[in-house]
């Protein structure tokens, strides 16, 4: 059950948007499609919705093959980055739209719409027009509209991308809670790894039309499959042949085996943590994340020479980075 995509291919002119993509989304889960621009995540989402036609491949929704079904009949709720609000209709009209199409009777529509508006905390605004709402409110309206018709699947395309940082954070939490309450299989697309890791149970990292890795936030962070995933899902420094997380950087005043000589360039206090920027012998710049205690112990100053070792490395074979085991 849930959603399954097998062997999806999609090309736009010269651009291969999806290159043999297969994913499995468990029923009732909350999954994030994460990746940079052009990675194919939106295309994949739209293909699941039926808004794009695949060149090759299958899409199955709740066990049945939906590849040939038009968007209109797939019963997916879709939320757009820029809301796609029906400008000329009230909030009520927007949310009721799908129900009107399905010819529900007036009283039932009214009940359902008000129920949903309460759910998304927009009750009282039913007679307003979208242009009288804030961005966050419009997006909640869009969600209510999508949920009104009781879709099997809820798809969100960078739903918070057009909103301010604070509103984004609030809506993130709110989406999480909504999902906990409703348990609709949900997939959302984002390029913000923090958002993905905060909200989703499962992350699918995509790059250049392919799936790089899928798993929980913890799995991706601790056991990235390759350099791309590692650097996408967290900060990464390159120390010689090693990829090291800033908080795994071992800074010491003693030279020794495997230590890289570096000069302290800048010490920045960012709230609780300290960020120390170094420049290596070959001119490369790296940085380490230290606690205040660690900083005090080392008594670092700008211009000081120190020695860096990877405290913990990730090993994977990719191109030019053959990495050794953890220290």
């Amino acid at each position: 059950m849930g959603i399954a995509v097998e062997g999806a291919f999609k090309r736009f002119g010269d651009f291969q948007a999806l290159d043999d993509v297969s994913i499995d989304v468990p029923d009732g889960s909350l999954t994030a499609l994460l990746g940079p621009s052009g990675s194919g995540k939106s295309t994949l989402l739209r293909a699941i919705a039926g808004l794009e036609e695949l060149d090759r491949g299958r899409v199955a929704i709740n066990g049945s093959d939906a590849t040939e079904t038009p968007a209109q009949k797939r019963e997916v709720g879709f939320v757009f980055q820029h809301y796609a609000a029906f400008k000329h209709m009230t909030v009520f009209g927007n949310v009721a739209f799908g129900l009107k199409i399905r010819k529900w009777d007036k009283a039932k529509i009214s009940d359902r719409v008000h129920e949903l508006l309460r759910l998304v905390q927009l009750d009282g605004l039913a007679e307003r027009y979208p242009d009288q709402l804030s961005g966050g409110q419009r997006q909640r309206m869009a969600l209510a509209r999508a949920l009104a018709v009781e879709p099997q699947v809820l798809l969100l395309d960078e739903p918070f991308g057009a909103l301010d940082a604070k509103v984004r954070k609030d809506l993130r939490t709110w989406l999480r809670r909504l999902h906990d309450e409703m348990h609709v299989t949900t997939i959302f697309v984002t390029h913000d790894q923090e958002e993905a890791m905060d909200v989703a149970e499962q992350l699918v990292v995509m790059n250049q039309g392919r799936v790089e890795q899928s798993g929980t936030a913890g799995e991706l962070y601790e056991h990235p499959a390759n350099e791309f995933v590692m650097s996408f899902v967290g900060e990464v420094n390159r120390l010689g042949d090693h990829f090291v997380r800033p908080h795994d950087m071992d800074v010491s005043l003693d030279a020794g085996d495997g230590a890289e000589q570096a000069m302290v360039q800048r010490i920045v206090a960012l709230g609780f943590e300290i960020r120390v920027e170094f420049v290596l012998g070959d001119g490369a710049e790296v940085w380490a994340q230290l606690t205040r205690t660690e900083l005090q112990k080392l008594e670092l100053r700008e211009g000081q020479i120190v020695y860096l070792r990877p405290g913990q490395v990730k090993s994977f074979s990719s191109g030019d980075a053959e990495v050794s085991a953890a220290a």
């Binding site: 808004l51 038009p70 209109q72 009949k73 797939r74 879709f78 609000a85 029906f86 739209f97």
Partner: protein, 274 residues
């Protein structure tokens, strides 16, 4: 850069002077001339049987030509904007042609098609349809000259609103027709309305083509513009001016609608975040 004060007044003088001499004074004169001897004569002239018939016929032209061109215009705009096709630029070019054709040439073309020796003339006669010297020919002329307006005003609005609302409607279960009727059409209504206003004004005012096609038979195939021309040529100045006033008032109403509608059409294309 705003002009310095003497330059500013100089420019204003030139602009207002030109507009005054060319637009305002002549229109003012017509109003003066018509009502020079009071309301009586013009009203009488406008309620004569010929005048009433002319008004009726003019309205008939509008009632047939405008809806046809509107339906065509919206449909064509949809196809041009929402669908790729190699023929789109050709269609686009043809739509602009009526702006390049003199009304007299339009009249000639219809005469050549539907006259006794024309391409379709004999066939039409056989079927008992009279095109020339009767209202169908005049409607065809009106359609020709006013064809581009609805398309041209709808295309930019359609392009501007984008397809997201339509896609959303699709995911909510609406089929093509429902989407068009409930979502697309309301979204483009001001562009369409503006195009309709322009179309109507053009049909109301058409003269050259209709002159040729109608034979200008008083009481039968005279539209208002033809009525005005004939009245003037026959030294019935009262009637001519009265007719001109009616048309001028319609034109001013059109201007008002254009001014209001144009602003609304523009506003509907610049709203963001939708």
């Amino acid at each position: 850069m705003t002009a310095s004060t003497p330059a500013k007044w100089g420019l204003r003088g030139l602009a207002f002077g030109y507009l005054g001499l060319l637009l305002l004074a002549p229109v003012g004169m017509i109003f003066y001339k018509t009502f020079e001897h009071g309301l009586g004569p013009p009203v009488e002239a406008m309620t004569s049987p010929e005048a009433l018939h002319a008004i009726q016929l003019t309205l008939l032209m509008v009632a047939v030509a405008v809806p046809l061109n509107t339906i065509f215009g919206v449909g064509c705009a949809l196809l041009l904007v929402r669908r790729r096709w190699w023929g789109n630029s050709i269609v686009d070019g043809i739509i602009n042609l009526p702006f390049a054709v003199s009304p007299i040439v339009v009249g000639l073309s219809l005469y050549l098609l539907y006259g006794n020796t024309g391409w379709f003339g004999p066939t039409m006669a056989e079927w008992g349809i009279q095109v020339l010297f009767s209202w169908p020919g005049m409607v065809l002329a009106s359609i020709f000259v006013s064809l581009p307006f609805v398309v041209r005003e709808t295309v930019p609005v359609l392009r501007e609103i984008g397809t997201e609302q339509e896609q959303a409607a699709s995911t909510l279960g609406a089929n093509g027709w429902q989407t068009f009727w409930r979502i697309t059409l309301p979204a483009i209504r001001w562009g369409v309305a503006y195009g309709v206003v322009l179309t109507t004004a053009r049909v109301l005012g058409e003269f050259g083509a209709v002159t040729i096609v109608s034979g200008s038979i008083s009481g039968e195939t005279e539209t208002m513009p033809l009525f005005v021309a004939k009245a003037f040529e026959q030294f019935q100045e009262e009637a001519a001016y009265a007719g001109a006033i009616v048309l001028a008032l319609l034109a001013l109403t059109t201007l008002l609608l254009m001014s209001v509608g144009g602003r609304k059409a523009k506003a509907s294309t610049t709203k963001e975040g939708f």
